[in-house]
Subunit: 281 residues, 4 copies
Amino acid sequence: MEVELLYDMPRLEEKLLIESFRQRGVEVKLTNVNTMPLLIGEVAAEIALVRVVSMQKALYSAAIREAAGATAINSSTTLMLCGDKILTLSRLKAQGLKIPRSMVVLGAESAEVAYRRFPKPFVDKPPIGSWGRLVTLVKDKSTWRSVLEHRQMMQSQQLRTHIVQEYIESGGRDIRTIVIGGEVIGAVIRRSVGDEWRTNVALGGKTEPIKVNGEIAELSVKAAKTVGGEFISIDILEDKNSGQLYLNEVNGVPEFKGFMEATGISVADELAKYIVSVMRR
Amino acid sequence: MEVELLYDMPRLEEKLLIESFRQRGVEVKLTNVNTMPLLIGEVAAEIALVRVVSMQKALYSAAIREAAGATAINSSTTLMLCGDKILTLSRLKAQGLKIPRSMVVLGAESAEVAYRRFPKPFVDKPPIGSWGRLVTLVKDKSTWRSVLEHRQMMQSQQLRTHIVQEYIESGGRDIRTIVIGGEVIGAVIRRSVGDEWRTNVALGGKTEPIKVNGEIAELSVKAAKTVGGEFISIDILEDKNSGQLYLNEVNGVPEFKGFMEATGISVADELAKYIVSVMRR
Amino acid sequence: MEVELLYDMPRLEEKLLIESFRQRGVEVKLTNVNTMPLLIGEVAAEIALVRVVSMQKALYSAAIREAAGATAINSSTTLMLCGDKILTLSRLKAQGLKIPRSMVVLGAESAEVAYRRFPKPFVDKPPIGSWGRLVTLVKDKSTWRSVLEHRQMMQSQQLRTHIVQEYIESGGRDIRTIVIGGEVIGAVIRRSVGDEWRTNVALGGKTEPIKVNGEIAELSVKAAKTVGGEFISIDILEDKNSGQLYLNEVNGVPEFKGFMEATGISVADELAKYIVSVMRR
Amino acid sequence: MEVELLYDMPRLEEKLLIESFRQRGVEVKLTNVNTMPLLIGEVAAEIALVRVVSMQKALYSAAIREAAGATAINSSTTLMLCGDKILTLSRLKAQGLKIPRSMVVLGAESAEVAYRRFPKPFVDKPPIGSWGRLVTLVKDKSTWRSVLEHRQMMQSQQLRTHIVQEYIESGGRDIRTIVIGGEVIGAVIRRSVGDEWRTNVALGGKTEPIKVNGEIAELSVKAAKTVGGEFISIDILEDKNSGQLYLNEVNGVPEFKGFMEATGISVADELAKYIVSVMRR
């Protein structure tokens, strides 16, 4: 049995995955997508495990391997949907799942209307990006105009697009679950720290394990299924007053180092086990 | 019966579509996506006809309308696949359809390898973009390095990505067909003019009608089906020596003014007729 | 007598200048710098009056005409200094003129230090840009981080650079004077309107005439002299509590339509008169 | 005696400079301009030696130190002129010095005219940039259009601007001299290697020492004087047929590692010696 592991920046996570595969007798072929050009229609192994940090490169890697009949994990369709927050939110909503109220500003001319339609503060973010980057809590008109002016100068239409989103009072925390092959393997809470309202670990957020209750598990599995993902992490916000849960983001190339440290769950092992079972089908 | 027509820059084509719908008793609701923010989950009509010139905005428009249960034409899935040439080519290849040999360079470190693997001249293009923009015929190392250096300075990863493609000797022409609801409605040839090798009309290319033969029709219908498109234009290259046909590009928001003028076919009418038939199902 | 008028977007102001020159028997040669390439060392007339809206293009126009011995108004040295607010502020400070306390952040690593060194709110702006664009009133850490993250994504080092500046309590107004050939010809006040704190006319600011007192006149003439400018507009902030005046910005290609309407002073006439006197020397 | 050395990326060159100063009893204060915000009007020492690799940051560093009365080497005026090739070429031309015939394209509309006015191949480059980056040898219309289209997509007006320059047949080599305090300290030849026409060391160019003849020395000293530079490197092209010399580029923050290795001249020592003499004046 063989798996191709496609990567750009090898991290601890990729090393753990290689080990977990080898322990199960699976040969791992490594492909650095930055140093090897990828021929459309050429394939390295039956399964292409995409661990590329750049979301756009991850998507291309999956699509190119599928072109030759490989099974990409996650599939290119999943990575397309997870790689753009407007597409993710739209699909979740189409499935009747709860998301924060979200409005999309495609042209600067519609920005004033959007501003008036949301109570302050609201959240503004572009549809692409990781680690909380550019996610802004807009408290007043002056901040809103600054964000608009800055984003108007971006080259890419994705970065010029705004998702304006109701701010969920979650007490500075969110829930992150990981789903593998339709099963939730665990969950953590991330808390924002100090004067930073965002919970991202890259911004200092702290992670601690929690028990997965039925509602969180159900929501997570539905979200993963909505995007067709086999290995997915999901961010959930809980309104601290009403207890209402909201799906916030779905990640198609999950980071799992912090999750693993907090919960003691070997995500690499769980994933390798799942992929071996897929190959045996 | 009601159709929502989503647009950003109204052209003759949109005016013709409105007329064609009204003649069939269909009310048309107009939405300028630049001046109206779009709420995810809000819908204006059962059918959302996406005529937005910006491909990224077109994709978002379709996804947001689908979130509330509307049928977008084309669907967001189709627009995702057509909006990025790597995704299009990969899907076509996965279906066993003929494309020019294509290699993807995701990192500058792999550029030299790609250069050596192709006979010169070869074609270089980014996965996004319209009207032939940035499509370069690379004849030698010096041009290749200039293109690489320029693209490395782009903000967006899509523009930093290269599709390196074998150059098909097509005698300065390509074939464009339009497919509506699984049927080819006609075809034109586009010829490059003067010292410009690209055939795009925006670059001076000339359009003339041709008869659609069986092979071209079959290829077009298969390409449209591969991306799940209901209203699609398809670019086909014919090798002038071997006669071999290659699928080159698939457009999810087809321009049709030049096609209409060359062939006399009322594309707007054909499309309106098709959409009415969809609504009656 | 001949003057070359270099422009990119002809406005009312340029038409008035042409008239004023013709009334004085001066022939005006028009050069659209967007449609005519400029050969370094070629000259059209003894005087090159630079009315190019893009500051970078204005600078190049002046330098290229000086290369062949023409007198540019303003000179390329003046346009260099006025085209970048760090250079302007540094020169003003070097001359002992009063500017708001200003700190320059060249790398993201020094942003936290700068944040701590200023009372809130403070002003953040890039060294280039017009009409108040990207000028942000930073009230808290969360806004500061959003601005930093947005600017880190800009391609140009100038836009990635921050001028952090003490906020002068000027009661939502600033003073704008125009200096021609070392003489102040008049002044206006610009007031910010509604929920916009910036006074720029492009952002809705209102203009009204004021009398030029001795202190304002002296400051303006010194500022113009510091940058070597012959036709300059100057922005001055007055602390509403202490009455202290601060030089804020110096513009090397002044817009004067609003100034003219508010004061009734024919800036075009004053400038033409001055230039004729220069040519007669 | 004290010197402030401002830097961003410390290289061997900066270490050698620190040693050379210490051997002369000069204390060196180090300022990393990326980690320390710079207050306009604050000064660290009488002399500010600017060794910042980023040209824009180098310019700001010099200007900010001059604001408090320090002597920057090079001065901000020199760095302004050297930091932009259009300004450099214009000043050299204004002084009657020989440069390759150069035309500036500020708007895409004037690109066709420029193309027709130059024999092929010609050189195209933006006014900013180092190590030969984006410098393109344009052989035909198709390459020219590709370069134009790529540069139109840049955010900065400087990168959207083209210097179109006659190609000097220099046999794949150029001459680089270093001038300190009005004296040429030596010269090298840089040769391009393999299929790369540019001579830049970053692109594989090879360096070897040559004797400085009278003509080269005179040209170098005049060039340094034209930009007011105290420590300057100069690139000179020699037409291999006519022997005519052309000034090509003038660098205000010279790299000197390769020069030092090829010639055996301790540039750091020469510079320290000169700066000590300046301080003693």
